[in-house]
Symmetry: C2
DNA sequence: CTAAGCAATATTGTATACAGATAGTATCCA
DNA sequence: TGGATACTATCTGTATACAATATTGCTTAG
């Protein structure tokens, strides 16, 4: 055992889940490849029982697929799957924005959003944008979307959005990194910031339909840019989960 | 062992999952109540390992909630949660209808839908509607929604809709049964049939926005009727998952 | 040379034993 | 009498052993 004096505060199951997810996302396992339990035991260092639990959770998460005869394999995604996931997430977030607007939120509730917005503004103002600024942007952008989602105050919706975001290429971070590969990166970020500002305004003014529409447009922009980045094949290594895309050759 | 010569063709895990789900939905466990693994072992007759797997899957499914200190409890839902789930499902199905319309489906693909529609027409034409006809209606209605979802040809979306439908009160069957409690039951069924017909027409004519709008309206109608049924407290025993609703007293 | 069948091997599914943690209870002290 | 502490019992988390099944490679027959 004691190969690695891992943190005792997290369960073996969680540790295995994290390790396996990293392995899959980093491309250590090819899409369609079967993932053996014993092999997973060796790489993670935990026993079979927690490994199995982790595999089940990763399947529910959408990263793995059950093999009819038993066991799991790494799921393969088409480009269309990814584009659909982005639009799906945008639709869900649009509903969240509408709920927030219709249900009414206090100015107090919107404050964290505006704060996030201002920090983002500071980053986007740079020209050109540094690599470190990009990482900050990704984190802040993710935070903004999380805050917006929670503003809906609807546990079922929040849960569903969380699950839709589990696939990493469906998350805004993915968009942004892909967008950063484009020559018009800065322009795109400015537009995204416009969207963010408008949706907060719309929520404050109780304009539910407008808030929803802008979030869907936001996602459509992201999908369009990702499609462009895939066509140009530029800086695709920035997109973490690209290892999961099934190439046209398969 | 051999207490029950259960079907050997399904795994113990699946058997445990089905048994526990039935137990929860039938109200055998109260919302918020802790579900002990040993107790589950006794009631299901399978060992702890598959029981644990089943519990994890039921948690992902949304019927159970993890207790921070360990183990699981039956999840409790508010009335608002249920209404939100219905609107959520409608939004997702709206997206599916739009995808189907925009992507273009052949008349051949729409045939099963129309067939389903005709059978439903035959049932709705009855006045008054018999109890047996209602069960048939529920099954057919569920089939219609499934077919419509699959018409989107988008695996990520289909997967998400399946998960959103896991909570039984979010499924059309639930609506219909609740609707049957209302005096205007037949009228409501006729309107729902109109929706069904319109969405198929819209898809055939490539009217994506219209297809989407009508599915969302469909869900809003269902939510309104369920709200009415809850207010009138009529025939609520028809709604299978009502055991999960946390009463206002809690 | 190919195909089919069989055997060996590896892998999953299941059961159970053990250890650590948590909650509940009872007792003792203030 | 109330509160705190210690102890006990139960439960979960983890590991491993066992059984059944699937897969693969080899051999043999056509």
């Amino acid at each position: 055992m004691g190969e690695r004096e891992a943190d005792r505060s997290v369960s073996q199951t969680v540790r295995a889940q994290l390790a396996l997810r990293d392995l899959i996302l980093s491309g250590g396992l090819r899409p369609g490849e079967r993932i053996s339990e014993l092999q997973a035991v060796e790489t993670t260092g935990v026993s079979r029982t927690p490994v199995r639990m982790a595999l089940v959770r990763l399947e529910e998460e959408g990263l793995l697929e059950a093999i009819p005869s038993g066991g799991f394999m790494v799921k393969a995604f088409s480009e269309r799957d990814i584009l659909d996931s982005i639009e799906l997430r945008g639709t869900l977030e649009g509903l969240a924005a509408r709920f927030a607007a219709e249900r009414g939120v206090s100015a107090r509730d919107l404050e964290p959003l505006r704060e996030c917005l201002n920090e983002l503004d500071g980053l986007v103002r740079q020209d050109p944008i540094s690599v470190e600024a990009f990482s900050s942007y990704v984190a802040l952008n993710a935070r903004f979307h999380t805050l917006l989602t929670e503003l809906s105050r609807s546990p079922p919706l929040i849960r569903q959005i969380d699950r839709a975001s589990a696939l990493p290429f469906a998350s805004p971070s993915g968009f942004v990194m892909a967008q950063s590969a484009l020559p018009e990166a800065r322009q795109i970020l400015l537009i995204a910031q416009d969207h963010h500002r408008i949706v907060v305004d719309a929520i404050e003014n109780r304009e539910g339909a407008r808030a929803e529409a802008i979030m869907r447009e936001h996602a459509r922009l992201a999908a369009r840019n990702l499609r462009l980045a895939l066509r140009n094949r530029t800086h695709l290594d920035l997109l973490p989960a690209l290892a999961l895309i099934r190439s046209a050759a398969d």
